[in-house]
Amino acid sequence: MPQVTLTVNGQTHTAEVEGRTLLVELLREKLRLTGTHVGCDTSQCGACVVHINGESVKSCTTLAVMADGAQVTTIEGLAKPDGTLHPMQEAFREYHALQCGFCTPGMVMSAIDLVQKNPGGLTEQQIREGLEGNLCRCTGYHNIVKAIAAAAEVMHGRRSEIARAAE
């Protein structure tokens, strides 16, 4: 069986996998990082998005062997060890950008990549288009879009903390 060695959330793991093992299966079943979810089988819902070498990737459409040697970040690796949430996590909470929570890990990982790739800022339309690869069935996206805009302000250093949502 092929062996893969990869770093997940700063920790190096080596595992034996089948050729057909998907990255998401390695994460969920071998490493027990169940925060990354599987919501579809056509690579569309984005519940499985993680970062590979800093970029958002659908871990359901990546073989585990293809991530050999990679730096992988999952939702479990975002908050600081002291529990401080990443600004995107904080913004999702502040703006009520999640309901059932199932799409949330992938949505947050995609959102972070989107913001990082657009240091000049994002319009509402750009945020909506940037979420093409992530489906949410609960929120109608309205609050997700607002949360990402608020997080971008902090991630790009234009604000020191997440702006409070309007009451």
Binding site: G46, E55, D113
Partner: protein
């Protein structure tokens, strides 16, 4: 997925050897192949991962052409200063393939070798009259796309790079399938040294050139020139998202938009 052997060769020559097995399949980004394998639509004996082959990567300007390595990801084409300067329509296309995650993994070589009728890149390849470089030869775009999911590539032949002549101007517009977001009807127009070329994707079983539009644009490069050219519905796709007649209509609409985008 059915299980398979996994190989990751470091050179094109090694990859070609591994692909001599008729049941082996090449994989790069995997964004077309893996969904098919997950649905068990295909049972390869082995996957030959091309991503370790350095020579297949990169974008460079060679004379009056942009040469893009097969392993170049969509995001790299979309953000390449060279591509943006030389063929902005190609960068625009790359920036609108699938979603962000597809663009972060999917490669030009994978998309073009697969020749999905609803894929984007084949329209640029055909529309720009590009040359496909393979592990054994060079193939003109006009000779490459043979039919639905079928190309001139031999089973063990690997697409290594695509050479895009820099056009005078080019533009691309597409209507997406509302569900899959693949192309429902797209048109790539280009004014090149070799003449005007118009390629249509999504609408038919394989990307094709639209001769009437090419003639109209050659005579008069303008939105109005293509506005009056109707696409026949006869051989176009028809499904729950739209009839062949609708797609035929969209071809004209997208042609107008592509010409407008090209300027």
């Amino acid at each position: 997925m059915y299980d398979f052997a996994y190989h990751k060769p470091a050179t094109v020559a090694d990859a070609v050897k591994l692909l001599a097995d008729p049941d082996a399949k090449a994989i790069s980004g995997g964004h077309t192949l893996l969904p098919a394998l997950k649905h068990r639509l295909n049972k390869p004996s082995a996957l030959v991962d091309l991503s370790g082959i350095a020579e297949l990567k990169g974008i460079r300007k060679v004379g009056n052409a942009i040469v893009i390595g097969a392993l170049t990801r969509h995001v790299e084409v979309a953000t390449s200063a060279e591509v943006k300067a030389a063929i902005p329509a190609l960068a625009y296309m790359a920036d609108h393939i699938g979603d962000v995650q597809v663009r972060n993994r999917g490669t030009m070589g994978g998309s073009v070798s697969n020749n999905d009728p609803a894929a984007d890149y084949p329209a640029a390849v055909l529309g720009l009259g590009a040359t496909i470089h393979t592990s054994s030869r060079k193939i003109a775009a006009d000779d490459f796309f043979l039919g639905m999911f079928t190309t001139a590539l031999e089973p063990s032949e690997i697409l290594t790079a695509i050479e895009f002549p820099i056009p005078e101007k080019a533009g691309y517009a597409k209507m997406k399938n509302p569900a899959s977001r693949y192309v429902m009807a797209g048109v790539f127009v280009a004014k090149t040294a070799g003449g005007v070329r118009v390629a249509v994707n999504g609408a038919g079983p394989c990307v094709f050139r639209q001769a009437d539009m090419e003639a109209a644009l050659a005579a008069n490069w303008s939105v109005d020139a293509v506005a009056g050219v109707k696409q026949a519905a006869d051989d176009l796709n028809s499904d729950i998202h739209g009839s062949a007649e609708y797609r035929a209509h969209l071809v004209t609409v997208m042609a107008k938009r592509a010409v407008a985008a090209a300027g």
